[in-house]
């Protein structure tokens, strides 16, 4: 598991709880599986911004970026690669 995936899991755990997240695969679709609802999605995205310092713009809101743990991890890595702030660089 990548560091970004661990961070994504940590954010998700803080919203829905450790037990539920532990049962999920990285590619599981979070909304379809009923893991999160749209209000929790709002909270997750706010934590990306508040806890990780990742700026999430309207163009970033997509199923590819926030639909699964793997998607969130890729999004985190891409943002940081593009120079977005986060642990270690901002």
């Amino acid at each position: 598991m990548t560091g970004a995936a661990t961070e994504a899991r940590h954010i998700l755990s803080s919203v829905v709880g450790d037990d539920l997240v532990a049962s999920l695969g990285d590619d599981d679709q979070l909304f379809s599986r009923g893991v999160i609802d749209s209000l929790q999605l709002v909270e997750i995205i706010e934590r990306f911004q508040g806890d990780l310092g990742i700026e999430v713009g309207g163009e970033d809101l997509s199923p590819e970026n926030f639909g699964s743990i793997a998607g969130m991890a890729r999004f985190l890595e891409q943002k940081r690669a593009r120079g977005g702030s986060g642990p270690g660089n901002g």
Binding site: L41, V42, G67
Partner: protein, 214 residues
């Protein structure tokens, strides 16, 4: 697509929100052929299709205070999806295939022949955490896809309504196409602020795919 707005606090905020306010609006679009997410069913939920071509006892499922509005929507040829849970009204969404000026928001939506417009989404407060809005959007989109009626569907959200924006973007893959500013007075009269459409090409502009299609 939604009318839900956050509640501001303080006297000035109240005046601004209830007397006169200008709010940013984002128009979103979606390719109808795009795959739909699989959703967990809601126990006891039914979605009733309401259309002028399918006269039925829609008054049995729509609250009385919405009847006049529904009649206006039906007269325009629009159709609605009304959700009930255990027989009680729980929410709705409407779909239009016709260019028109929306009575409440004041926004003028212009559609090409292969386009549709989803609007007036509402999930009752008791049902919001159940994923009811998602169920309504999914049903509307699957009907559009199965009926091969349109290739593209639009909706708009108040940009302060982060939940609806995220639901449509992250769960259903809607993408931003245009922003405009909408003014409203006394929360009853609304209009699109002239020249606020960015870019000035899209369903809320004079020029867009509708103009090409004509």
């Amino acid at each position: 697509m939604t009318s839900a707005e956050p509640v501001a606090s303080g006297g000035l905020a109240w005046v601004r929100q209830h007397l006169f306010e200008v709010v940013p609006v984002e128009v979103l679009e979606r390719d109808v052929a795009k795959a739909l997410p699989e959703l967990t069913p809601i126990l006891g939920m039914r979605i009733h299709r309401v259309a002028a071509s399918k006269p039925g006892p829609w008054r049995d499922v729509v609250p009385q205070h919405q009847w006049r509005t529904v009649e206006r929507f039906l007269a325009r040829g629009d159709r609605g999806y009304v959700a009930t849970v255990e027989g009680q009204y729980a929410g709705r969404i409407w779909l239009s295939r016709t260019s028109h000026r929306d009575h409440w928001s004041g926004l003028r939506i212009r559609l090409a022949p292969d386009e549709a417009y989803a609007y007036a989404m509402e999930a009752g407060p008791r049902y919001r955490r159940l994923g009811l809005a998602a169920q309504l959007v999914a049903r509307l989109l699957s009907d559009l896809r199965d009926g091969q009626e349109a290739s593209r569907v639009y909706g708009w959200v108040d940009l302060r309504n982060r939940e609806s924006l995220i639901l449509l973007s992250v769960v259903f893959g809607f993408t931003p196409v245009q922003t405009v500013r909408r003014a409203h007075l006394l929360r009853r009269i609304g209009w699109q602020v002239r020249g606020s459409d960015q870019p000035a090409f899209g369903p809320l502009s004079r020029v867009g795919r509708h103009a090409e299609a004509d």
